[in-house]
């Protein structure tokens, strides 16, 4: 996707929050490798901060701190399938009428449930282009340093491949996690090159590459699909 030339305006709109999901993710990914853009965003966040400081307070649910503490301690297991079903219901509502997508979502749910890791530190991500275009479902098991990814509705053009990248500030340039196979499950790949905090907080992005993957080890273009992990287990 092409980014507007006006980075100052882009930084301002990112901080304000008016960008759509794809633009937002693209900016979030770009700021990791672009200190000028990152500084412009930080400056805008600081400019607008008095609004947040002045927000009228609302009391959160009483048990929330206990739930946060439980997470810090690695507490109760959340049922992955329950989390995913809720999200699938939401995507279905958003993608009503899109039969292919709905079918893909059902398959993704089945996939995630079938491959549900049994050890703690489970995460899922949905990589998407727009708010109602889920394209890949991804599961990550931090303890096992494994992930798997499955296309929901995405299919690369003839002669091209989708390649998955992990993007995090501490990694510098995006690191390839491999080419995503055209059909079904890509298989499990090791995440042992990265520390767990990086894996958990990273942005995952899919780019369109020449068949077989990027020849340079760097993404050839801007991410087509992006997503972040959602914790579904301790």
């Amino acid at each position: 996707m092409s980014l507007p030339e006006d980075d100052e305006g882009l930084a301002a709109e990112y901080a304000l929050g008016t960008l759509d999901a794809a633009e937002r993710a693209a900016v979030a990914a770009r700021r990791l490798t672009d200190p000028t853009l990152d500084a412009a965003i930080s400056a805008w966040e600081a400019r607008l901060t008095p609004l947040a400081e002045a927000a009228r307070p609302v009391l959160p649910p009483g048990d929330l701190f206990a739930r946060i503490e439980a997470r810090l301690d690695g507490g109760a297991i959340v049922d992955l399938a329950v989390v995913l079903r809720a999200r699938v219901a939401r995507w279905r509502a958003a993608a009503a009428g899109a039969g292919l997508v709905a079918a893909g979502l059902a398959a993704a749910l089945a996939f995630v449930v079938a491959t549900r890791p049994t050890t703690p530190h489970q995460f899922v991500a949905v990589l998407q282009k727009g708010p109602d275009e889920p394209a890949f479902a991804m599961t990550v098991d931090i303890d096992r340093e494994e992930f798997s990814i499955r296309p929901i509705s995405a299919k690369p053009p003839e002669g091209r491949s989708y390649e998955l990248w992990i993007i995090a500030p501490q990694l510098g340039a995006p690191k390839s996690l491999g080419v995503i196979d055209a059909n079904a499950v890509s298989g499990e790949r090791r995440l042992n090159a990265f520390d767990p905090a990086t894996v958990r907080d990273a942005t995952y992005a899919v780019t369109l590459e020449p068949q077989g993957g990027s020849p340079t080890g760097r993404p050839s273009g801007a991410p087509v699909f992006v997503g972040k992990l959602i914790a579904v287990g301790p």
Partner: protein, 207 residues
């Protein structure tokens, strides 16, 4: 549905009534030192983390629950505090206010959530939007009150409609699309308005 029924006059009055009297304000005596708490949280001090939560959670929930639906708001807030716990060491007091830093973490999480959930429609807005109902005079240190006063002065220097768009975006997470629907303008026009208004705001704040 009536997300955007703003009564212009009432709004203007509310803004004027809320003009902060900076000179008469001093730091609230009971306000905890968030910079110190964050420093201790960075050192894995759980008591400090509990104190930080007690001091800031209602404010952060105020920010988050206006942007995402209620069920997801507590999830977003949980994720935000876990992140604050993990990232407290990144906070740099020289670069901004501690409340601003943690509010930005929570707000970005909320925006990510609401954008990836589905496009926002006006129908999703459970209640009318009254900008004046979104905020109050900030508690706390004098420098924050001055920053707030300056921002409000510059926001009020914008055309009322443009100012409202910025407030709706900030407090409710309104996207360009939602604003375009409200103001019956093409999305591209809304983008131009936003960028122009933000540039104006920046000029005003640096003058």
């Amino acid at each position: 549905l009536c997300f955007l029924s703003i009564h212009r006059q009432a709004l203007a009055v509310a803004f004027i009534a809320r003009a902060p009297h900076v000179d008469s304000m001093t730091a609230a005596p009971t306000a905890p030192d968030l910079v110190d708490l964050l420093r201790r949280v960075a050192g894995r001090d759980r008591a400090a983390f509990a104190a930080l939560y007690a001091a800031t959670s209602a404010k952060l929930y105020g920010v988050v629950s206006r942007i995402v639906q209620s069920g997801d708001a507590s999830e977003v807030l949980q994720e935000a505090y876990v992140k604050i716990w993990e990232r407290a060491g990144d906070f740099d007091a020289a670069k901004g206010s501690p409340l601003g830093w943690i509010a930005t973490i929570a707000r970005n999480r909320a925006l990510d959530e609401v954008r990836r959930a589905k496009p926002m429609y006006l129908e999703d807005m459970p209640e009318g939007f009254e900008p004046a109902a979104e905020f109050e005079d900030p508690m706390g240190r004098r420098d924050r009150k001055e920053a707030y006063a300056a921002l409000m002065r510059c926001l009020n220097a914008l055309e009322a409609e443009k100012r409202d768009m910025i407030l709706m975006a900030y407090y409710r997470g309104a996207s360009r699309e939602a604003l375009a629907a409200k103001y019956k303008a093409p999305v591209g026009t809304v983008k131009t308005w936003l960028r122009r208004s933000l540039a104006q705001l920046k000029d005003c704040l640096s003058s």
